[in-house]
């Protein structure tokens, strides 16, 4: 039990992600997460507005169950499996965040500056999360996949579009971290 409660090293997490991919394919489906955003749009009635969403979401019941599993797994992890959320980050990372005015750095998974209730109920904080969400949802569907679908599934099956998408992910992520976050905080 002690192992379960400790943070898992990269060489535990990476192989177990590969195991998840293996099981997903072994169960007869294509591994990925972001198509679910479209499926949820379809379920919410988006097909009335655009033909793009006129799909039979019941064919993706397996993926919706996977999503329900992700949510349940998140609750289990948050409440029972992560008594210690401290992240062992580099001194230079702490310094950079400290310079931006971040406090309580890396003592928990999510910084208060973005994820606290106070931040969420400020106009700026709400917009930061909401617009990030829009960018994730729009970008992943435009690119045709996310970290699971492109970076793991696509790269490992040697698909060129996935390499381009991952290059895009890093262009966006680097701009966000080096230029946008310093502007926001």
């Amino acid at each position: 039990m002690d192992f379960i409660l400790q943070p898992w090293a990269w060489y535990v997490g990476g192989p177990l992600i590969a195991l998840s991919l293996f099981l997903y394919f072994y169960f007869g489906q294509n591994f990925g997460a972001s198509t679910n955003f479209e499926t949820l749009c379809t379920m919410a009635g988006a097909g009335k507005v655009s033909d793009y969403f006129k799909k039979d979401w019941k064919q993706r019941d397996f993926a919706l169950l996977f999503v329900v599993g992700l949510i349940i797994g998140g609750f289990i992890s948050a409440n029972f499996l992560t008594p210690n959320q401290a992240i062992d980050v580099n001194v230079s990372t702490i310094q950079a965040l400290s310079d931006l005015g971040f406090t309580n750095i890396a003592n928990q998974y999510f910084p208060d500056e973005i994820f606290s209730t106070d931040a969420l109920f400020s106009i700026k904080g709400f917009l930061i999360l909401f617009i990030s969400g829009v960018l994730v949802g729009f970008g992943t569907r435009y690119a045709g996949g996310c970290t699971s679908g492109h970076a793991i599934t696509g790269l490992s099956s040697l698909q060129l579009p996935s390499l381009l998408a991952v290059i895009g992910f890093f262009i966006g992520g680097i701009i966000a971290v080096w230029f946008i976050i310093p502007l926001l905080f």
Binding site: V67, Y109, G139, T140, A143, I175
Partner: protein
């Protein structure tokens, strides 16, 4: 119900992401600053092991639970869609520290902020759907 295994797999995957800290904002912040090996180790080892698994699928040595050959769906081609779409995705990922699957996992950790991210992501997917015929791919 035969698809219940996907629910169990979802729980497992969420626990793996949570325990290996691959849902933490700080882990992606340091990744995009190239100041830590952790996320590169996770994604890199996952890709290398998955590449071996893909070869076993391709050669037909491993078939799926129904005995069918496993063929990953070909990704849609297009330099603009992958690079530009990928950059949009990376911007959202870099700011919020949340990509697609973790948004659902974070609902268990930080319910309200994750709900705002999720509603935003659904709106983003909806906007793409409406514009998809007009956008360059």
């Amino acid at each position: 119900m035969k698809n219940i295994k996907f629910l169990v797999l979802g729980i497992f995957f969420a626990i793996v992401l949570s325990k290996s800290q691959a849902i933490s904002w700080y882990r992606f912040y340091e990744m995009f600053r190239f100041e830590s090996f952790h996320m590169f180790g996770i994604i890199g080892s996952a890709v290398v092991i998955s590449a071996i698994i893909m070869q076993l699928f391709k050669s037909g040595k491993i078939k799926d639970v129904n005995g069918n050959k496993i063929v990953p769906k070909p990704k849609q081609k297009g330099v603009v869609r992958t690079l530009v779409g990928g950059t949009f995705f990376g911007l959202g990922w870099g700011i919020s520290g949340a990509c697609a699957a973790p948004i659902f996992v974070i609902l268990g950790f930080k319910s309200l902020p994750a709900l705002v991210l999720l509603i935003g992501a659904l709106l983003g997917a909806f906007i793409y759907g409406i514009l998809s015929k007009k956008l360059p791919h």
